[in-house]
Subunit: 329 residues, 2 copies
């Protein structure tokens, strides 16, 4: 039996709760909090009841219990930090993760802020406390990309990572090419379908893709980078004519993120790519090619977002920790 | 430091030896054997010298030392079994693996025979002896597919696996479509390039792909299957006209292996697939789509064969075991 504290009960947190219930996983949630309320219950929070309360617009727990209360007072093996990302300060997630690591608790997170901004510190803190910090869900949703690089092709030197890291941009580009829509029309459609936020800056200007590059560079490629190191061009200035020109050559345009460690390059930009290229995926999919010295080119394609898909990555990390560290498992 | 015994010094075994030398991995080979000779040396076999002997057509070691001598007498942490596959009897690899597991040694293998024919027995033997049996290299070369399914998306239920599992067939089909070659012409070209054996039956009749399906079914999907359970049609009867017909519909033909666990289906057959389908890869590449309940569809593309690529998978497994089990690591 694994005991987790779950911070964040929005789309991702609820996706995790639903997966635990639906699959009957041997996981007990001993602490739960959203930004407004929390519950600490060593006997196990009633997840179905919390989901029901939240879906009726209520709080998930008691207004007197904060996320930090859960971090510091609940009894758990693993903190699951899935609150919304703040790429400027990484807070409040950074404080939650530090607090759990200092208590000697493992951490699994989908929150890009702390991993992009403070990985060296957090990793050192985890090591000093003999626990693990896992973050598969921060990059490319359901694709087990970090697992693949850290374990599957361990022993390889990675010479380049290149891919489609943002599903919102990929959806917009797919629709502009397929229907001749303008950027504004395709963005409006993406908003209607819930693929784009009211303020789409974070996605369409390549910030989200850039943050993912920073995470891969700092955690896998032993680089020390920040978002400022990413050369970044978004898709917001692309015209339907540019897509048509690409189309005329059996090509299309994709927002490609690229890391070349040896050259110190991190770059996000729209690029013309042949339609048969493995990175040309449709709709909200993500696709990443990893160039490795022994394995050669490996390409991974899958869903980069979504509550169930993110839950998949979080649960993979939980089971990874359980198989190695959790007592009595 | 990790001590391995290496059985098999053909293309794969030499690829592993070269990777150990080139990357300066902290691995000592305390036993080495091919079918004709062997060496046992607790201080570490001189791999460069063994490679040089072999490349001059000589034996890798002493004619008086057999592979079984190495299994039983060498001091090692992990047996690396990369002798040629026999899909009928799995021997002599099966005996080597049993011998190592009984001695309480971990095993890493690229040999499909023992995993396809005797996985339940070998796994039980490994568990009884508190050691690991890893076999990433048996399916799709450098693609860390088994890692991804066992660890990356742990917690998911896999509902279907579908893919291009044989690079030789994929090369032949790619060339038939691109150049209008007949099957015989494309096969001759594949032979010239070393992609096809003198007797191509194993590849072109779908036996190799079928064996890989059996391995995935038995080791990942908890099925109990043999090659006889695989509905199997090869590519040897395909005409250029069939490929042209597919082409006329913006499609092509690929040899697709498929497992649907719930229906008990294992199937290898040429299928018409749209050219933009993620499984339509070129040349000798492999591509596999895994359908999982939480993660959705995940597609993996990479090199399915080659000595360096297979070494990548073997070394990934070695480091996996080392990070968990080898003393002093």
């Amino acid at each position: 039996m694994m005991r987790i504290a779950l911070l964040g009960f929005g789309s991702v947190g609820r996706g995790i709760a639903r997966a635990i219930l639906a699959k009957g996983l041997d996981i007990t949630v001993t602490g739960l909090a959203d930004s407004r309320s929390g519950i600490i219950d060593a006997g196990g929070v009633d997840l179905a009841a919390a989901l029901a309360r939240k879906e009726q617009g209520g709080p998930c727990g008691n207004p007197g219990v904060s996320p930090m209360d859960v971090v510091e007072k609940a009894e758990y093996d693993i903190l699951v930090e899935v609150t919304p990302t703040d790429v400027e300060t990484a807070e409040p997630a950074l404080g939650h993760i530090r607090g759990a690591l200092r208590r000697g608790k493992h951490v699994v997170t989908s929150n890009k802020g702390p991993i992009a901004l403070a990985y060296p510190e957090l990793r050192a803190l985890a090591e000093a406390n003999g626990v693990l910090l896992k973050y598969e869900a921060t990059v490319c949703g359901a694709i087990p990309l970090i697992h693949a690089m850290q374990e599957g092709i361990a022993g390889n030197t990675i010479t380049r990572i290149c891919g489609v890291f943002n599903g919102t941009c990929n959806y917009i580009l797919t629709r502009m090419a397929a229907e001749g829509l303008t950027y504004e029309q395709a963005l409006a459609e993406a908003r209607d379908l819930g693929y784009a936020e009211a303020d789409p800056t974070y996605d369409v200007e390549g910030i989200d893709a850039g943050i993912k590059l920073v995470i891969l560079a700092n955690t896998i490629l032993h680089m020390e980078t920040t978002l400022d190191d990413v050369e970044r061009t978004g898709i917001n200035l692309l015209s339907p004519e540019a897509l048509q020109l690409a189309e005329d050559q059996d090509c299309t345009i994709r927002l490609i993120g690229e890391i070349i460690p040896e050259a110190g390059v991190l770059r996000v930009s729209p690029r013309i790519v042949p339609k048969v290229h493995p990175l040309v995926v449709e709709g909200t999919l993500n696709a990443v090619t990893v160039e490795a010295d022994l394995a050669g080119d490996l390409t991974f394609v899958g869903k980069g977002a979504g509550s169930t898909e993110t839950a998949s990555a979080v649960i993979g990390d939980l089971l990874y920790i359980q198989s190695r560290h959790v007592q009595g498992s």
